[in-house]
């Protein structure tokens, strides 16, 4: 498209001249196809369709109607091309001949770019957000404008770095729109020098700031330095507004670079830069007052919706220029985040990254899993989650440092020496290592995707268990006396088999509770869900308890305890706190199952049959993946029915599981005094137990008698154990 646009003269029939039409090139020529199209229209009657080998009704659905703004992403809105936009003054350099306005406009561009960047992170395409900036699309022409040029360069380099992190994580979540950069100029020559370019500009503005302060205090003659802009009253404000924006970009780029360093070596430095970013963001927010008041003209509309601190519309952006690059999505005007919301987004992102950088890289898998689960509670976005995943799994090792067999060895409470055993070369153990690696990756994805993957994953864990068990039986079917090494191998198998079971039930547990977080269960399904959760928790607790006993044995054998003191013996017979914690869960699950079953059986409105299927089909659907993997064994719809069919208010009154839960929660709190997160959860569990205990009493006493009794279930205290609310209308 080298030719200049051609402006058509008014046509003969007096129609207004068209906008600059699309020029023909050396190899193309325009021809009028209207007669052909008209003939084609006349050739088919209503309801007829051309049918060919490769063209049927299904294929025809991909058709789009040209010039339909909902479907045609090729429609020219304002300009046909970037060049045309530039030639029409859409992105002037300098922005204004008045240096004060030029500086303000530059700040507006910086702010709008931040808003675009946040919109991109949140799930829109790069083409319609950050690269809606014409200056960024033709970065080289900004060279005469040092401020704009350096800022655009670092934005480009930052976007490239972020795309790289998310691509490397390769989770293929629904967010794959994020990494689409086709046709965008993301790779710039010399972008590796973006920091030094930015530093130079920062240095100049720092000197300009010093100079204007020196003038005002009349301490000494200013250097022979041109001021930033022409209004001396505004010089300090503009310098400060620019400096915090430039410094934010610099520190943010450093955060990304530091976090990229292998084996978490850059995490501490990253934290320092994160802290600087947060400081600069605060300054950026504060600069809004100055920017809004420095001109007489006020901007229209609600300031909170604006994408700039000043409230003015930024110059040099056109989201539709890239509409052809934004496909496969149909042309949609997207809403760029407001500037305030964009800053909020980055504050949250930085806090999430800080949590990652503060992590101690604990080699204990159990602690790591709890850390990841806890991290996910704050609902971190894609960029933060990708960073976590890349920290955890690098070069096929945990943190790029610990081979997964060693990790499993430790998790399965095997002696340290075993981690180098040759058995790890066994195919099944190699596969197990892969499963642990994949588990970590899955746990870093968004909750909806994560649950689907975990469900399918159960089958893999079941299969590996069966494989390992088979291998174990083949090797050590009947063992009487065996060599030392054979004993070691046997022990490895035994520990790991137990650990695999525990892990499998943990995954099943997570799969079930994520359903609450994702709102996948309707109230009528809670009974079966809590029943299944109860069944899984029983097995999980059993395996956890066994695992702890086995781990205790290993510790003893290590020589830590030569003799069992009375205190040790007492501790051994006590149930470990982690197991008590799970027992609290069990009581709550059982209590809720029975209460829901009784309500169902006694109150008609709780049992609403659907015209097309029964509870059996819903059970099959919800638990299909668990059933297929036999997790747990001997659990089925008939056994569910058997457990719940006889529940009545009278039977409910006989035993209060919630009181048990309350008691256990109270007792075990002291054991978790050093664990604030589990302590907090115990308090929540106590609250649920207390409320539900009272509710159960009310229901038992009044349930059958009072038809106005309204029972509802809210997750006001705990994310997956419902609080029962009883009201009389």
């Amino acid at each position: 498209m080298a030719d200049k646009p051609v402006y058509e003269e008014a046509s003969i029939d007096g129609q207004p001249p068209k906008l600059a039409s699309i020029p023909a090139s050396d190899t193309t020529v325009w021809a009028d196809a209207s007669p052909l199209l008209q003939a084609a229209c006349a050739g088919l009657r209503d309801g007829e369709l051309i049918h060919g080998d490769n063209f049927n009704l299904f294929a025809a659905m991909s058709a789009l109607e040209i010039m339909d703004p909902k479907m045609d992403s090729g429609i020219v809105c304002t300009y046909y091309s970037i060049d045309e936009a530039i030639e029409n003054g859409a992105a002037p350099i300098p922005i204004s001949l008045d240096s004060t306005i030029d500086v303000r406009c530059t700040i507006d561009i910086m702010d709008h770019l931040l808003a675009c960047e946040a919109a991109w992170h949140k799930g829109h395409s790069l083409a319609q957000t950050v690269f809606s900036c014409i200056y960024l699309l033709r970065l080289d022409r900004t060279a005469p404008h040092a401020l704009l040029h350096s800022y655009c360069r670092i934005i480009r380099a930052t976007c490239k770095a972020v795309v790289s992190v998310v691509s490397d994580a390769r989770t293929h979540e629904e967010e794959d729109l994020f990494t689409m950069t086709y046709g965008l100029p993301l790779n710039g020559d010399g972008d590796d020098k973006c920091l030094s370019i930015l530093n130079a500009v920062e240095e100049t503005i720092s000197r300009q700031l010093r100079a204007c302060k020196a003038t005002s205090s009349k301490r000494r003659l200013p250097e022979d330095l041109e001021p930033l802009q022409s209004n001396p009253n505004l010089e300090e404000g503009f310098c400060k507004a620019l400096l915090c924006r430039l410094r934010f970009r610099k520190h943010f780029f450093h955060v990304l670079s530091c976090m990229k360093r292998p084996q978490g070596r850059g995490l501490e430095s990253a934290r320092k830069h994160i802290a600087s970013c947060l400081t600069e963001l605060e300054s950026i927010l504060k600069s809004a007052d100055f920017l809004r008041s420095c001109f007489d003209e006020s901007c229209e509309g609600d300031i909170d919706d604006k994408t700039t601190a000043s409230g003015f519309e930024p110059i040099g952006f056109d989201a539709m220029l890239n509409s052809r690059l934004s496909a496969p999505t149909p042309p949609r005007a997207i809403k760029i985040l407001s500037w305030k919301k964009a800053v909020e987004y980055f504050v949250k992102l930085l806090h999430d990254l800080d949590v990652i950088c503060s992590y101690s890289l604990d080699p204990h898998l159990e602690s790591l899993l709890r850390f990841v689960v806890q991290f996910q509670k704050s609902q971190p976005d894609l960029v933060a989650r990708s960073h976590l995943q890349l920290l955890l799994v690098q070069d096929g090792k945990l943190y790029g440092r610990d081979p997964f067999f060693a990790v499993i060895n430790k998790a399965a409470a095997l002696p340290e020496a075993t981690k180098n055993h040759d058995i790890q070369k066994n195919e099944s153990f190699l596969q197990l290592g892969m499963l642990v690696m994949n588990l970590l990756k899955i746990l870093c994805t968004n909750a909806a995707w994560q649950r689907r993957k975990l469900g399918k994953f159960l089958q893999d864990w079941r299969v590996i268990y069966v494989q390992l068990e088979l291998a174990f039986r083949n090797e050590y079917g009947e063992v009487s006396s065996s060599s030392n090494d054979e004993n070691k191998c046997m022990k490895i198998f035994q520990h790991i088999l137990l650990w695999v079971e525990e892990q499998t039930y943990w995954i099943a547990f997570r799969f079930l509770i994520l359903g609450f977080e994702l709102e996948l269960y309707s109230t009528g399904e809670y009974c079966m869900v809590y029943w299944y959760l109860y069944a899984v928790l029983i097995k999980l607790t059993e395996k956890t308890h066994l695992m702890m006993a086995v781990s205790h044995d290993t510790a003893k054998r290590k020589g830590k305890k030569k003799k069992d003191s009375p205190k040790d013996l007492a501790r051994e017979s006590r149930i470990p706190p982690a197991v008590l914690f799970l027992q609290c869960y069990i009581c709550l699950a059982e209590g809720l199952t029975m209460m829901l079953a009784a309500l169902r059986n006694e109150i008609p409105v709780f049992h609403s049959p659907s015209p097309f299927n029964t509870e059996h089909e819903k059970f099959v659907q919800h638990f299909e993946l668990l059933q297929r993997a036999c997790i747990p064994d001997h659990v089925s719809y008939p056994s569910y029915k058997e457990s719940t069919t006889h529940a009545r208010f009278s039977t409910l009154a006989m035993y209060n599981y919630f009181k048990d839960a309350q008691r256990i929660a109270k007792e075990v709190k002291s054991s978790f005094s050093n664990d604030p997160e589990r302590l907090a959860e115990l308090r929540k569990l106590e609250q649920v137990a207390e409320h539900n205990s009272v509710a159960q009493n009310v229901i038992c006493r009044l349930g059958a008698l009072d038809p106005s009794l309204k029972v509802s279930f809210e997750f006001s205290h705990h994310p997956f154990f419902a609080t029962v609310v009883v009201k009389r209308s």
Partner: protein
């Protein structure tokens, strides 16, 4: 699908007439309803795909000769399951809250069941409380949550109805 108190049409229940897709003359009625109420852009080919291949699965609701609601569906083999799919469901605003949508969906599902479908599926925005309640009452469960499924960033639920296995004649 929420009932809106203003501009409610005055109708008696038996006055709604339900009709199976009958031919080309019904197509513009369906297209107008869907274009008006739903935000997804569909070309005429999309409508034809559904109503030509599965005319028995699309239904229209009429009140005094005016088309006030429609459902458009398909069915087919999907990974070894014979499955029905509800593509579009619309009832114009003044006629909502009267069970017209439920009736349209029920008819199409019954037809799918009789045609041998093992299950029915569709997607709905997580914020569409009316649709979720409607389908929930008919026996659909929320099988999956689809993150940012819609272009406006809203998540969707994949809803699925599993039919019981056909009763064996003893």
């Amino acid at each position: 699908m929420e009932a809106k108190p203003e501009e409610k049409a005055e109708i008696e229940e038996p006055e709604i007439e339900y009709v199976s897709y009958g031919g080309e003359h019904h197509l513009p009625l369906i297209m107008n309803l869907v274009d008006q109420e739903l935000s997804e852009p569909y070309s005429i080919f999309t409508y034809r795909y559904f109503v030509y291949l599965w005319p028995q699965l699309s239904f229209l609701a009429f009140h005094k000769g005016k088309c006030v609601g429609t459902v458009v569906c398909k069915m087919g083999e999907h990974r070894n399951t014979f499955r029905g799919y509800t593509a579009m469901l619309v009832v114009i605003k003044p006629y909502r809250g009267r069970g017209i949508a439920t009736e349209l969906v029920t008819r199409s599902i019954r037809m799918m069941m009789e045609s041998g479908c093992e299950e029915v599926t569709l997607e709905a925005e997580v914020t569409n409380k009316g649709a979720l309640a409607l389908y929930g009452r008919l026996g659909f469960i929320r099988a999956k949550r689809l993150f940012h499924y819609y272009l406006n960033g809203v998540d969707a639920f994949r809803l699925k109805l599993l039919f019981p296995p056909p009763r064996q004649v003893l």
